[in-house]
Amino acid sequence: MNHDKPLGQALREQGVSRRGFLKFCATTASLMALPPSMVPAIAKALESARRPSVIWLSFQECTGCTESLTRSHAPTLEGLIFDNISLDYHHTLQAASGDAAEAAREAAMEENKGKYLLVVDGSIPLGNPGYSTIAGISNLEMLKEVAEHAAAIIAVGTCAAYGGLPHAKPNPTGAVSVEEIIKDKPIVNVPGCPPIPVVITGVLAHFLTFGKLPELDHLRRPLAFYGNNIHDRCYRRPFYDKGLFANTFDDEGARKGWCLFKLGCKGPVTYNACATIKWNDGTSFPIEAGHGCLGCSEPNFWDMGGFYNALSESTMDLSRTAAVGIAVGAAAGAASGLLNRRKKSKAEAAHETVTVKDLQREEKS
């Protein structure tokens, strides 16, 4: 790939009109809650941007995040922008394989030392390093090596951001997220299982335009996309407010599109942009399709109780705690009962028969 061609030129060569390009810039600006005056700045920045080198590492993952990006409504600007960054290493997409592939990564790292972006999908096993290796190199070793000279790291998908499904109990591989290993680099988490494609490109566009990463929340998610919860932006919210709920997936409420809260929708505790940006080019999102939100952009979503348990139900298994509580209570009760019984028996044993002569008090002299 030619690293020197500016992005604008590359896009036009691929048949994207200037109008379409500006539209993308405006969308990105509004999505990221930037003022409209920023649109020309984005356009200018993107147009003249030298395509940055991107190294994409896939660890313990299902490739769903890559699928989400590449199979989104094609050809999209997101896709094209992706095509036109210099994706120097991505073992699913690149043509090279084996030593040649690793050589490309090493070359890109050397050539763009301190400037390249590192994108990671998948979690890193800390158990046996042999659980996941690429070209004989363990994930942990490769992450540390590539991260060392990266400008920033984007953790794509819940696995890279928070450990995700490999991290789910009982976590057999000892999977952890990127931020648990790399402590000295700017990291952006773009969680979701998978994340929305435009969120990934939005973060890239922000980086290209301003040369820094966007504002993040306490879980290092870009506030622009993860600032609101699904519930507050959900088109079914009015039904929730009126107390109209679907109780099963085929009752009247479900057919009328009422709130899915009682069917386990995690929208109220899930921060993501699904309800506004939606999926498949703005076609729909899970709740619109009739299924509650699973909460996939939240840490440990897999272990937060059943997907179909309403949030008002306990997400923890209390039976063990209850059993221990009952056992301890019963033991304490039995012990104090025994003590009391002993005290009473002692009083009984000390009983002196009371006769009528014992009923008078001694006169105080």
């Binding site: 009473k344 009983h351 002196e352 006769t355 009528v356 014992d358």
Partner: protein, 420 residues
Amino acid sequence: MSKATLDRGVQILKEHIDAPTAAYFSSCVNCGMCADACLFYTETGDPAYTPINKLEPMRRLWEQEYTLVGRIKKLIGLSKPVTDEELGEWSDLVYHACSMCGRCSMVCPVGNDISYMIRNIREGISAAGYAPEGLIGATTRAVEIGSPMGITMHALNTQARNIKESSGLEIPFDREGVDYLVLLSSMEVINFPEYLEAIARIFKQAGKSWTISSEAFEATNSGIQIGVSDIARELVSRVVEAAEKLKVKTVVSPECGHAYTAIRWDGPNLMGRRFSFKVKHIIEVLDELREEGLLKVEGIEESCMTFHDPCQLVRKGGVIEQPRNLLKMIATNFVEMEDSGKMNWCCGAGGGVSAIEEAEGIRLKAFNRKKSQLEHLQVDTLVTACSNCRIQLEEGLEVNEMDIPVVGLTEMLADHLVEE
């Protein structure tokens, strides 16, 4: 033996905080419903007479000795130990102002048997030496002479002779293998001699054999009223031994409520075994005779009458229908008192109250409840089946200048027997 002291009282209380008592104290929700069920509270309006409050020293002792919270409270001084003065003060509440009628136990929403606990706290207070003089005297006479009023066999023999002279009826003493062993309360011997003649006539007509034991004719149990189980056991064992010696089938409690409870319910628990005979109240026996057709009466009482249910009969024994069945045989103009049956208001003198001289004031105040019930009914005759109630009713009516005769049901039936 040692004299009564606070230590002995506390020791005895600890002994009597049994599983039911502990369960009751921990269940109490302080709702105060027992207050409105107690005539000593309703007639005085003094919250000190709230039944559960009468147990306060025992409740605190239970908390301090048998609960974790109480032990901690005692340790850091939040819960003061039970004192001598306190037990003395509470003596008035548990002896003067409680007839152990059990009405509070009936209304308690968590099922606490408060009168049972009063029975237990009396054990501690008497052992601490704070039982009222009147009850100590009655108990001493019961143990030493054989009757709380000091009646001896001599007096009873005289009465038997009088009955023989006036009616020709034989009063049988110490006969073995008879149907009924008849017990008497001292009050019946002194105040209502007509009772003995009445049952002699009824049993003669019914063809039942009966007897009185010269060793144990007294039915009342002062040991229970004062709250000394050792004495109560001694007194009840006299009756049990006499009944077993004479091999009777049934022991008949006289028209006395607390005597009935003492023998029938407390008796086996005090002795720790079942009896070889049955214990029945005279009214139960009479109703059985009626059912068997052995009670033949004639003549109808036309005056308007009502029945005062003795608390121990209705609430402890469930004897509710029997007196009404009997009354219907001889009365047409019978009216029910408000709250009649198991929730009937107590006369105010049971459970030993009548034996306490200093309690006279509150006893007559408590009668006001019965007074207003009777004023409302406007009856000509008041019938009952407990001599202790009867004395209190007669006294109360006289003090309030109400002219209503009080009659014992057994005597009334005897008056209507078909002459042969």
